[in-house]
Amino acid sequence: MFSNLDFDVVRRSLGYLFLDGMTFTLTLTALATLGGIVLGTLIALMRLGNLPVLPKIAAAYVNFMRSLPLVLVIFWFYFLVPYIGAWITGAERPIAVGAFTSSLITFTLFEAAYFAEIMRAGIQSIPKGQVAAGYALGLTYPQVMANIVLPQAFRNMLPVLLTQTIILFQDTSLVYVLSLTDFLGAASKVAQRDGRLVEMYLFAAVVYFAISFAASSLVKRLQARTAIIR
């Protein structure tokens, strides 16, 4: 059964797969994680703060994003962002937004909802006494958050944040709906061009597995290193 498989196709397309495909996948993962954590932390702070209305807006945002399939949001943003851009800037025509920018915005906004919930749990895990001690020293609310609560929350939540990033790394393959060439997209194109579907999809699966598995082992080691001494 396996006698007519030709794995040489993998070797021949390595450059395209990794230089084009994987570079795209990793760039999108890294930027969306960074943006998602920053935005997510802000949403978590909004949700936990005692300003009027903001907690409800933050909660509504999180619930909304988590109730939609990611593919739908990717599509939706791709067709909507040009119009929203035009509306904001007052331009007459829809603004041309590249597929990459559109997917980056989508993933950032989508992941922010998940990162927000992780950060919310992290912030709530910090004892009230820590906040009181910060205030008692004369620190302001932003100073207490920036110097005492968030650094501890990040450390406590690091394993979960990185696990979510690994999920994001796998989810970026959904950009195929925008005809973008990520790693899976590249593999898929070669597979169809050369009629080597089994070989290419097997190889793609092995690569995704290897990277995700290595990353989760790394998370475990990192966890031991960054844990707060108690």
Partner: protein, 243 residues
């Protein structure tokens, strides 16, 4: 220095934790606040630097009204040192960073200045050797001494202690009390919530006895330990002093 005038505090609409509390602490005075659990002593001391809000009455610290919405609370709090029952050192920061953080962020001291001040106070509480460790590597007594040094680094005009020895193993109580006694003898204004009657006898000028949210007794040390006027204070004293 601290004036507490007719303070009332409720949790929710009906549960009153403080009832008409009135007292004062003058400059250089050491006042011990004692009383049974749930009598509101911790709540009262937390009202002094506005860590707890209260609904009625006034608290004035060094001429500044704590409950005035216009008061710059961070500025006021930076001049009022506070030591907590559970130390509340910042576990992700080294001891030196714990000492320097607020000096730099709040008082605007340079790194070198803050470090020098921190090291000096660390020496004073006898913990120079622990400077580069993390709080989790220190014993409870050592952590509490660092917490006192951290509060002193801000050069406070008054120090508040909220049951500073209650969470400590018995053999560590002494080392913390020694630091506090020394501080009192140097003339620091102190308000101390504690059950350590030995400490009260040694350095307190006045003793306040609270029960069910009220200040039942507010007397000089000799009066309080000699012949408390209230029956509740007498019962309390007989219970804790016979052991």
């Amino acid at each position: 220095m601290i004036e507490i005038k007719h303070v009332d505090k409720w949790y929710g609409p009906s549960f009153q934790v403080l009832t008409d509390c009135t007292t004062a602490v003058v400059k250089g005075e050491v006042v011990v606040v004692c009383g049974p659990s749930g009598s509101g002593k911790s709540t009262l001391i937390k009202c002094v630097n506005a860590l707890e809000p209260f609904q009625k009455g006034d608290i004035i610290v060094d001429g500044i009204k704590v409950n005035d919405p216009k008061t710059n609370l961070p500025k006021l709090r930076s001049r009022v040192g506070m030591v907590f029952q559970h130390f509340e050192l910042f576990p992700h920061l080294k001891i030196t960073e714990n000492l320097c953080l607020a000096q730099q962020k709040v008082l605007g001291r340079s790194r070198d200045e803050a470090m020098a001040r921190g090291k000096k106070l660390l020496e004073r509480v006898g913990l120079t050797a622990q400077a580069d460790k993390y709080p989790g590597q220190l014993s409870g007594g050592q952590q509490q001494r660092v917490a006192i040094a951290r509060a002193l680094a801000m050069d406070p005009i008054v120090m508040l202690f909220d049951e500073p020895t209650s969470a400590l193993d018995p053999e560590m109580v002494g080392e913390v009390l020694d630091v506090m006694v020394q501080l009192a003898q140097e003339g620091m204004t102190m308000m101390v919530v504690t059950h350590e009657m030995g400490f009260a006898r040694k350095v307190a000028h006045r003793v306040i006895f609270m029960d069910r949210g009220e200040i039942v007794e507010d007397a000089t040390k000799d009066e309080f330990f000699g012949r408390p006027r209230s029956e509740r204070a007498q019962t309390f004293l007989s219970k804790i002093l016979t052991h």
